[in-house]
């Protein structure tokens, strides 16, 4: 009833091309933005920031990055952990080499470095397809982790082999290091997420996105109608790498503060981000958010219920948590193989017709 497009006429292609063509969607988007930027920073505390919000924001950026590569361009990648590590180490090297430059630019530059590395590892995609490519990207994953562990230049020859984020400020407010406030780190990550999401949305609704999707849906036909497959695939790797690099840099610098590559950016991370986009929805920016939220929130929520509310032993809860996450993934797939984003679309379509479904 209240969710409808009837009467919402477009008089120009500009209107029709916009991110949220339906008025109600647009308003909801503004509300979400207002809450995220205007209200949450005043309510936030350390627990909410570090247990939910920062990982959610950062994983969302990574998921958007991987979704561009896998969801939009159809190139399945299991190298996300390694690429996040590139972002983290690039950020660390830049932070320590140029301490006077604002951290904002370091994070962006880390994204740029990752984009280059990611593009290089994307070269085999010109010859290898499907699951073969997925397994091939594991080569990147293992090699990069090995490299960062082996070459001590990357961690400034420190005895521990760990990298630590020194304190850096934005407008005089620390966003990395020991003395950060929850709202500052939250806003810092939120800004990156908002920018990433807008860029990703712009790219995917325009010609670049159409090229990627054409390659995804039918690569041969795409090439015959004029898509240069090399440029399309490599640009997807580059853009994806840019976002994943940013998320890796934030993960290290803002969220964790200290990183050891094998533990934090191992193969598990690659799988986790892939799960996020599949559960959330391939080829959907909203799905990237939904998947990240699902996999960040669910374990913590289950833990809160099991341990804090019901008082069960922590190990039983942890095991049951695995069982529930596993079962939910399967149930989700059986009920809606195309992820939370598709569930959402179906729900919206129902709402649009409500209360007169016929």
């Amino acid at each position: 009833m209240f969710y409808r497009e009837a009467g919402d006429f477009k008089t120009s292609y500009t209107d029709d091309n916009q991110t949220f063509p339906i008025k109600f969607d647009r308003y909801r988007y503004y509300v979400v933005l207002a809450v995220a930027f205007g209200i949450i920073p005043f309510l936030i505390n350390d627990y909410w920031a570090n247990a939910f919000l920062l990982p959610f924001l950062i994983y969302s950026i990574a998921a958007i990055g991987l979704n561009i590569l896998t969801g939009y361009c159809g190139q399945v990648s299991l190298g996300t952990g390694g690429f996040m590590a590139v972002g983290a180490y690039a950020c660390y090297k830049l932070m320590t080499a140029f301490p006077d430059v604002n951290i904002f630019f370091h994070v962006i530059a880390a994204g740029g470095v990752t984009a280059i590395v990611c593009t290089a590892f994307g070269l085999p995609s010109l010859r290898i397809k499907g699951f073969y490519l997925a397994v091939a990207t594991l080569a990147a994953q293992f090699f990069l982790v090995w490299l960062f562990n082996k070459v001590s230049w990357f961690y400034n020859y420190s005895a521990s082999g760990q990298i630590n984020a020194p304190e850096r400020t934005v407008f005089g407010v620390p966003v990395t290091g020991a003395n950060t406030e929850a709202w500052a780190t939250y806003l810092f990550c939120l800004v990156f997420l908002a920018i990433s999401a807008i860029i990703a949305r712009n790219l995917t609704r325009g010609m670049q996105g159409r090229k990627w999707m054409a390659i995804r849906d039918m690569d041969i036909a795409a090439e015959i109608i004029g898509v240069n497959p090399m440029r399309a695939k490599l640009s997807a790797f580059a853009v994806s790498g840019f976002f994943i690099g940013i998320s890796g840099a934030l993960f290290f610098a803002v969220y964790l503060g200290a990183v050891e590559v094998g533990e934090v950016f191992g193969i598990q991370k690659s799988f986790l981000v892939l799960f996020m986009i599949i559960i959330g929805g391939l080829g959907s920016i909203f799905g990237s958010f939904a998947g990240a939220a699902f996999l960040v929130l669910l374990p913590v929520a289950l833990k809160l219920v099991g341990v804090d509310l019901l008082g069960w032993p922590t190990d039983i809860v942890a095991h049951i948590q695995l069982i529930i996450v596993g079962a939910l993934i399967i149930i989700f797939l059986i009920a809606e193989p195309h992820g939370i984003a598709q569930l959402w679309r179906v729900a919206k379509e129902k709402l649009r017709l409500w209360p007169f479904p016929h």
Partner: protein, 273 residues
């Protein structure tokens, strides 16, 4: 009649057919030991509707794939505007203004009709990645200009009502039409149609024939098409190439072909229709 490659003439229905735009010279294509095309030569003239016919497995689709640059022939060359075409990737061929449709529909199933049609404009849009990322200036302007072109073709082919529908949900006949729209919107100089009417009922075939004639008429597009339905081919085309087992067994106007003994033996003798 005998024409020079640069001569032009006017058909009975008043259309002007120009000189040769594309010429296939002694094309041979093999897959391992199998010869798909054997030493075939023919030409395509500007503004004409050129049909390629032949029984199943005659090598017709392979021929289109050679023109598209998707298959690389072992022997022979392709002359485009009189000049030998160097080895090209399929997308480079497309950039030269050669568009096509496919025998088994090759639409992008995950996208809407509008987006599918818009992909046909991709060679006309060249704003950079950064401009697209911020959706300002040239990028936005290009999107709007090309959207107008796409909408014109959508109107022309009468598919406005399904503009925002995902392609996967469309019935077969409409998909064929969307595919034609995608090829057409690129304003091709040569349009290759691979069995545009396969699997259609009579009514849909009539619609499609009308669209093909309109396209040729209105935009002056050169069309090369593969079709099984002899009746349609004879009605539509200006000239016909007949292939059988990878060889050319006939080439001429529909009436020439009707009277060609080799064609009658090889093809019409085992009539499908």
């Amino acid at each position: 009649m005998m024409l020079d490659s640069t001569d032009s003439y006017v058909t009975e229905d008043g259309r002007t057919i120009g000189g040769v735009v594309m010429e296939m010279k002694n094309i041979t294509l093999r897959f391992g030991g199998v010869v798909a095309i054997k030493d075939i030569s023919f030409d395509i003239r500007e503004g004409e509707i050129r049909a390629i016919i032949g029984p199943n497995g005659a090598g017709k689709s392979s021929m289109l794939n050679v023109i598209s640059g998707f298959y690389v022939p072992q022997d022979g060359e392709v002359l485009f505007h009189g000049k030998p075409r160097p080895h090209m990737k399929p997308y480079e061929v497309a950039q030269q203004g050669i568009a096509r449709t496919f025998q088994n529909i090759a639409l992008f199933e995950g996208m809407t009709v509008l987006d599918n049609v818009m992909t046909g404009r991709l060679n006309k849009m060249n704003s950079g990645l950064l401009a697209q990322a911020i959706w300002r200036g040239k990028a936005e302007q290009e999107e709007i200009e090309n959207r107008e072109k796409a909408e014109k073709i959508i109107d022309f082919l009468e598919i406005q009502h399904i503009r925002k529908t995902p392609v996967a949900r469309l019935p077969y006949g409409l998909k064929k039409r969307v595919e034609l729209a995608r090829a057409l919107v690129s304003e091709p100089s040569i349009l290759l149609l691979d069995e545009p009417m396969a699997g259609m009922n009579v009514e849909e075939k009539e619609d499609m024939s009308r669209f093909i004639l309109d396209v040729n008429d209105e935009f002056g597009t050169t069309i090369a098409l593969i079709e099984h339905d002899m009746g349609v081919v004879m009605d539509l085309s200006d000239r016909v190439v007949v292939m059988d087992y990878g060889k050319k067994i006939g080439d001429g106007t529909p009436s020439d072909i009707r009277n060609n003994q080799a064609v009658i033996d090889a093809y019409l003798g085992v009539a499908h229709d």
